[in-house]
């Protein structure tokens, strides 16, 4: 059994958080650049050029891309032949979150939901675990902003609603969201599972790199239909009008109950900060 010290995990998490806050991932930058070239609206083009310039400023001046440095969301894959020494894995990740948001001068955005009092250190992180083979731990991190999260939706649809029902629900969710979630967006769609599982896989779908095709031809086709329909809404960059409203649509499906048809739509902003490390 391989043992990884919890401090090593905390340190890796801290570095992921700090680096992500100032470096827009390559796939996001490339996708925004393609959108800039494609956009036909004048104000849409201006917005995209400012977003690209913002990425340069953030990288060179080490200033966060966005003031909303998010809740810290993690998908963690733990191999069966690895153990964590010292603190448990959840505490190790929260330690890294605490120090990352402090040392990176990032905004602390967790609060009590009722009193609205800020917790002050951006914990607790939101952590999803999966158990796999091997002796490694893979940590995937996203800084998830509130603006786009607030426009996300979950619907327990009827099985008879079918594929077209899913497509309509996603398109309507994006129409209703309009300028609020900082378009151009990335749309994560979770189909199936149950109530909570559909939301988790919708979030997980956001981690697929932009420009990578869905391996399932049926889902790939649905993604491409939704992509075209949403870009025809006209919302455009920051909602000022245009043809680039989404950069990508990513779907994951899982088996569900014979009576159910859960569909979750998790919207992500253009400041699509995600990164990963395998230890």
């Amino acid at each position: 059994m391989r043992v990884i010290a919890s401090e090593e995990i905390s340190n890796a998490v801290k570095n992921l958080i700090i680096n992500s806050s100032v470096n827009l991932p390559e796939d996001t930058y490339k996708s925004l650049k393609q959108a800039f070239e494609k956009e036909i609206s004048g104000s849409g083009k201006t917005v995209l050029s400012q977003i690209l310039l913002n990425a340069e400023v953030a990288k060179t001046e080490l200033k966060p891309l966005c003031q909303d440095t998010g809740l810290a969301v993690f998908f963690v894959e733990v191999g069966k032949d690895v153990a964590v020494g010292g603190k448990n894995l959840t505490d190790a990740i929260n330690d890294g979150t605490r120090t990352g948001y402090a040392e990176g001068f990032l905004r602390k955005s967790t609060c009590d939901p009722l009193s609205r009092k800020n917790i002050g250190n951006n914990t607790p992180a939101i952590i999803h675990y999966e158990f796999t083979d091997g002796d490694k731990i893979k940590i995937m991190y996203a800084a998830k902003g509130g603006g786009s999260e607030n426009m996300s939706r979950l619907k327990m649809m009827r099985p008879s609603d079918g594929k077209d029902g899913v497509i309509d629900f996603v398109v309507e969710t994006m129409r209703e969201a309009g300028p609020n979630p900082c378009p151009p967006n990335i749309v994560g769609v979770g189909i199936g599972g149950n109530f909570e599982r559909s939301a988790i896989i919708a979030k997980k779908a956001l981690f697929r790199k932009l420009g990578v095709k869905n391996g399932d031809p049926e889902l790939a086709e649905m993604e491409s239909i939704i992509f075209e329909k949403v870009n025809n809404i006209g919302t455009g960059p920051m909602g000022f009008g245009g043809i680039c409203t989404v950069l990508g649509v990513h779907i994951i499906k899982e088996p569900c109950h014979i009576a159910s048809f859960p569909v979750a739509v998790n919207i992500e902003c253009h400041s699509h900060r995600h990164s990963e490390i395998t230890i």
């Binding site: 400023v57 966060p64 800020n118 607030n150 300028p179 900082c182 809404i233 009008g241």
Partner: protein, 187 residues
């Protein structure tokens, strides 16, 4: 299109000239406030108590910046989504607020108050906080420091870039812009 240079606080003369879609560069003094600060400001108004700053003619910027590093004026400082302030904004507008900077749609009540009391809603580019912070030349927390990033700050800005979303004439850039580009995407 040429950008219109305006100075805050705003006068009615300036507001009447601004039209939906106009790109502006704002200089002068503005204030920051978001959810909890709005709650407290409106409570003070309801209780007939003095506000931490004079609202007359002012612009409020909906922002909760990242903490500044040593030597920085302010951290990353882009707009937050405005609808969360919709419940409070009409009360502030009625009491003298003239401008708001944020991102995203406003409620019918806010748009009505903008028309009735002559105010304006500007959109800034969300997710461009590093770039926008360059237009902020000074920053001072003047109230509610217990709210951390949500404290009320007085900012001095120079050529702060924004676009007129809702004007006094009932214009709405989000509606007009969207309609113009509906069904224009070709694969």
């Amino acid at each position: 299109m040429d950008k219109i240079k305006i100075t805050a606080p705003l006068s009615d003369d300036i507001i009447l000239k601004l039209k939906t879609g106009d790109e502006v560069l704002i200089s002068g003094t503005i204030y920051t406030a978001r959810d909890q600060a709005h709650f407290r400001l409106v409570k003070l108004i309801e209780d007939n108590k003095p506000l931490p700053f004079n609202l007359q003619g002012q612009i409020i910027y909906y922002v909760g910046p990242t903490p500044e590093k040593p030597g920085e004026v302010i951290g990353s400082a882009g707009p937050t989504t405005s609808y969360r302030m919709d419940k409070y904004a009409p009360i502030l507008i009625k009491n003298g607020l003239k401008g708001m900077i944020g991102k995203g749609k406003r409620s019918a009540e806010v748009k009505e108050a903008i028309k009735k009391y002559k105010a304006v809603y500007f959109g800034a580019i969300g997710g461009a906080g590093a770039l926008i912070s360059k237009a902020i030349k000074s920053s001072m927390v003047i109230a509610y420091d217990d709210l951390l990033s949500e404290a009320v700050r007085r900012l001095t800005v120079e050529d702060f870039p924004a676009i007129v979303v809702n004007d006094v004439y009932g214009g709405d850039l989000y509606e007009e812009g969207r309609q113009k580009y509906e069904n224009k995407y070709n694969k």
